[in-house]
């Protein structure tokens, strides 16, 4: 059933919301957050759906769209934030990423043929923050067995106990290559766990000269994100009689990593997504998709001692 999806209009709505939202104290909550982000004090922007619900101008449809298609709306919120990001008001030391970015922006301004699609920087690479959409805490959280096939793509909240945690590893978001021939930086956005690296330079200059420029992957220039995988199991009270507890995989990114360890009783809100099999499993599996929960916020039930 195709609904009327107008992402541009939605982008406008999100911009509106972020600039105009006032919380219970009358403060412009999100503008403050954005200011902090601009000052490099925090790196995560958590948008609470509860706020969206309470927003005076909000319409129900938009809320429903955000809940049901959350992954897409993260991108939309991020775009909106890019547009309204204020200037930094405090000085902060440059880190590698900032230096690279200033270089790139200088290059981009010199470069007249900025219309080369293969050289245009994906917006991901300019961002130094993460956007998280947190579900409203009004209803009680689901147990793992209550999450059904119809919830795929939706924002859900589950509670459970963490059973295993992997190490924190870097996850590539944008792969940056340099061409040996023309010397340009080529960007490749990576959206899944595996990606096919580029080998030949697609830039217009190389195409013009018909030289098959060799691309070298620059790890220092590529954008990485912290990534951790965990398995969460149902709590004892949610398991019906005669059944065994179910588990679900959770993918944790960025600032949420290192917040959980095995044995913690947590409440995670996130997007329930399918993870298509890749490689040999794709040939075999055909119909089946593995699922996981992309964590947006993690809350512990019991407070740990402050470290």
């Amino acid at each position: 059933m195709m609904k009327d999806l107008d992402f541009n209009a939605d982008r406008g709505l999100t911009k509106d919301f972020l600039t105009n939202f006032a919380d219970a104290n009358g403060e412009a909550k999100y503008l403050n957050i954005l200011q902090d982000v601009a000052n490099h004090k925090i790196r995560a922007i958590e948008i609470n759906l509860e706020d969206l619900f309470n927003y005076k101008d909000m319409d129900e449809e938009f809320l429903r769209r955000v809940t049901e298609n959350t992954r897409r709306y993260i991108g939309i919120f991020a775009d909106a934030i890019d547009e309204i990001m204020p200037e930094p008001t405090e000085a902060f030391p440059d880190d590698d990423h900032d230096i690279l970015m200033t270089q790139r922006s200088e290059e981009a301004s010199e470069n007249t043929d900025g219309s080369d699609p293969n050289q245009r920087m994906p917006p991901e690479i300019k961002r130094f923050y993460e956007v998280y959409i947190k579900a409203s805490s009004k209803e009680r959280p689901f147990s793992i067995r209550e999450v059904k096939a119809s919830d795929i793509g939706h924002l859900v909240r589950i509670s459970g106990i963490i059973t295993r945690c992997s190490d924190v590893k870097p996850l590539m978001q944008v792969a940056v290559y340099t061409c040996e021939e023309c010397g340009f930086e080529i960007y490749q956005e990576v959206t899944s766990r595996v990606f096919m690296p580029l080998f030949e330079c697609p830039s217009s200059r190389c195409a013009l000269n018909n030289t098959k420029g060799n691309l070298i992957l620059q790890l220092r220039a590529s954008k990485f994100l912290k990534f951790q995988e965990a398995k969460i199991q149902e709590l004892a009270e949610h398991v019906p009689k005669g059944h065994i507890p179910r588990t679900m995989t959770v993918h944790i990114r960025g600032e949420l990593t290192r917040k959980v360890s095995p044995g913690d009783v947590v409440e995670i809100s996130g997007i329930f997504l399918p993870m298509p099999y890749t490689g040999f499993r794709a040939m075999r599996a055909g119909l089946v998709a593995d699922t996981y929960l992309e964590a947006m916020s993690v809350a512990h039930f019991k407070k740990k001692y402050e470290e």
Partner: protein
């Protein structure tokens, strides 16, 4: 059904597609159905149950597996051992203009374009194993079945299969003698030219993928587990440890090689460990729960007339008496025990169970009567297991199932048993030793199984209690310290029965008797309730020590007695019988208690109870002749004792009384005692405490 354009048995997927299309044309919308059934199940139910074609459906077992066509209908009987994560699959997709379904299959029969509209549905994955402890006579033999000749030989990977001579495989897999039909079957198979899956099957049997399952005692390494994918059932229908018969579409693809990915990523979950080449897969269309009486062969259905039932009961009692060396009381108790099952649970107590502890087994009697009893039970009960308890066993066995988070599977334990299993625990090999923490835990598990009929499954962060319904029989030397049984009975064989073997026909009648009468309802009407109440109150007044456990035991005995006669109401006569049985048992216990071994020291009059757990005396072999055994128990003591026990006495009081009696009488026949023998350790407290 006449005139169907498909055949449910040989082309079930075709049947499914046909019903799907029919449903769509009458308004069914796959887009909103969320995987629910559209009438396909009803068709199969009609074909299988109403028209009784179910016996034509082949059974999935290691012998049959090479003969069964992929994507045909099979059935599988097994116990749900583990539940894996639900699978999300593309249930329906739009191929151009028409909807197609992938329900009940692993791969899509039609090519799925990537842009077609899809609907994702869910299916449950259950890992099922053949029932642990199932005796060979209770297994449905595949020779009784007619193998439907496979007309439709279109298999999806047909070209890749090699045609092989599968005699080698069948000789490897011959398990029982009940398979006269199988060589015929395989010959017919080779005529059809059905490509053999034998080479991969041998790999299946020797593969190490399920080595953990094989380490459990009682697990038959040649038995075949099966991954069952269930589509349309309620979650509450299929519980862990339930025994089901699943009928559905069989898929098994042994061709697919599995490259082992050695990454340490967490997403290597269960499915990587059991790719289809190791375990056959059954897409379940219809399923039904099996109870004990489903394991009895259908050919002995007898009408339950009371006189007939009595006759059967008498003959069974006779057989049990012979097996148990002419000990009638023991035979009666065992009969009631074999009829027991948990029928209600109230406040964590399991009502209806009657576990029995036969004491007095020594080495010789164990080897004779213990074995006879085991054989008899194996012949009478469809599912039975035995455990021999030694210190080593208790310290090392994994009795309770535990979840392994590496492979994300529930590793089975000895106590993961189906309902209606009979468990014999042999305690006689248990001797002196120390139990470590595993041992203590295992003892606790056995005790909980005995008293509460619950087994604790370990999920690392918490433990879950699963209820069980296992009949437990303990064979021990003295009263079991570890396992508190409902009925403790000293075993007094008075001779070895001459012929213990029973003919098959009688056995079959008895099996039917035990399996069917178990399920009879039981009722006590109001007058009887009054009588029982009065009796219990009177008994309590006589003996203050009687508690609710004793009364509950009495009621259970009465219930089982009623059921053993094929009746449903408790009558006065039966109640009297129950009370009589209990009285006889208690009498025997009392005599047994008294007939213990005492050692009297010459120097000072301390009588030390050898079985007193506080006493640290260790009897050496050369002390043997000094001890009066129960055959030599002086009868005068017996008389005196009986006179004195009008009032109930504490153990210490009894001891002191005996001390005085013994010191007078026993010294006289201690002529062969050794001089100067001193007890190793005497704790004075143990005598007089």
């Amino acid at each position: 059904m006449v005139g169907l354009p498909f055949d449910c048995l040989s082309n079930p997927l075709g049947a499914v597609r046909f019903t799907f299309e029919k449903a769509i044309s009458s308004g069914f919308n796959p887009a909103t159905s969320d995987g629910k059934d559209w009438g396909a199940i009803k068709v199969f139910q009609e074909c299988l149950f109403d028209e009784d074609h179910i016996s034509q459906v082949p059974i999935l077992d290691p012998l049959n597996i090479s003969r069964i066509q992929p994507n045909s209908l099979v059935r599988f009987r097994g116990m749900v051992q583990d539940m894996l994560t639900n699978e999300f699959y593309v249930g329906a997709f739009k191929d151009g203009l028409s909807w197609r379904t992938n329900k009940f299959s692993d791969v899509s029969p039609f090519p799925m374009g990537s842009s077609s509209e899809t609907r994702i549905w869910e299916r449950r994955l259950l890992y099922c194993v053949p029932v642990p402890g199932q005796n060979s006579w209770a297994m449905e033999s595949s020779s009784e079945l007619v193998t439907t000749p496979c007309k439709d030989l279109i298999s999806q990977h047909g070209e890749k299969r090699q045609r092989e001579d599968d005699t080698a495989a069948t000789t490897h897999m011959v398990l029982d003698s009940e398979l006269q039909g199988s060589p015929l079957g395989s010959k017919r198979m080779r005529e059809d030219g059905f490509p053999g899956q034998s080479s991969s099957l041998q790999d299946l049997i020797t593969t190490d993928a399920f080595s953990k399952q094989r380490e459990v005692p009682g697990f038959d390494p040649k038995s075949l587990p099966c991954l069952v994918k269930v589509y349309d059932s309620q979650e509450s229908d299929l519980k862990l440890n339930d025994v089901f018969e699943f009928i559905g579409v069989f898929t098994y693809d042994p061709e697919f090689p599995v490259p082992m990915d050695s990454s340490d990523a967490l997403d290597e979950d269960a499915l990587v460990q059991l790719p289809p080449s190791n375990v056959p897969c059954l897409h379940c269309i219809v399923h039904r729960k099996l109870a004990t009486h489903d394991f009895i062969s259908k050919s002995t259905v007898i009408e339950a007339m009371p006189s007939l039932i009595r006759g059967i009961r008498e003959s069974l009692l006779g057989y049990l008496t012979t097996v148990l060396g002419n000990d009638c009381l023991a035979a009666q108790c065992i009969l009631l025990h074999l009829l027991s099952q948990v029928h209600a649970r109230v406040d964590s107590a399991a009502l209806g169970k009657l576990s029995v502890n036969l004491t007095g087994f020594v080495q010789e009697s164990l080897s004779v009567f213990g074995n006879q009893l085991n054989v008899a039970i194996q012949n009478l009960m469809p599912i039975s297991q035995t455990i021999s308890l030694t210190i080593g066993y208790l310290n090392t066995a994994s009795l309770s199932p535990k979840k392994d988070y590496e492979t994300n599977r529930l590793v089975t334990g000895v106590l993961q048993l189906a309902e209606g299993t009979h468990l014999t625990v042999d305690e006689t090999p248990l001797d002196v030793g120390t139990l470590d923490s595993t041992g203590v835990k295992n003892v606790e598990l056995l005790k909980n199984l005995m008293e509460l009929q619950k087994v604790e499954y370990d999920f690392e962060y918490y433990k879950i209690d699963m209820s069980a319904d296992v009949q437990m029989l303990i064979l021990s030397e003295g009263k079991s310290n570890i396992l508190p049984a409902d009925l403790v009975l000293p075993f007094r064989p008075s001779g070895i029965g001459s012929s213990v073997n029973a003919e098959t026909e009688a056995l079959q009648t008895w099996r039917w008797y035990l399996a069917t009468l178990k399920t009879l309802p039981h009722d006590i009407d109001l007058d009887m309730q009054k009588v029982i109440e009065d009796d219990l109150v009177a008994a309590r007044q006589e003996d203050r020590n009687l508690g609710s456990q004793d009364f509950s035991r009495l009621l259970t005995i009465a219930r089982l007695l009623t059921v053993s006669f094929g009746e449903t109401r408790l009558t006065l006569e039966l109640w009297q019988m129950a009370k009589e049985l209990e009285r006889q048992r208690k009498d025997r216990l009392k005599r047994e208690d008294r007939r213990r071994r005492y050692r009297v020291d010459l120097i000072s009059v301390y009588a030390i109870l050898l079985e007193d757990p506080l006493c640290e005396w260790i009897v050496e072999d050369d002390d043997e002749p000094l001890l009066p055994t129960y055959e030599e128990w002086p009868e005068e003591l017996e008389e005196n004792y009986q006179l004195k026990t009008r009032r109930s006495m504490s153990k210490e009081g009894t001891l002191l009384l005996l001390l005085t009696m013994i010191s007078q009488k026993v010294l006289s026949f201690r002529s062969t005692c050794r001089q100067g023998c001193v007890p190793r350790h005497i704790s004075e407290k143990s005598c007089v405490s």
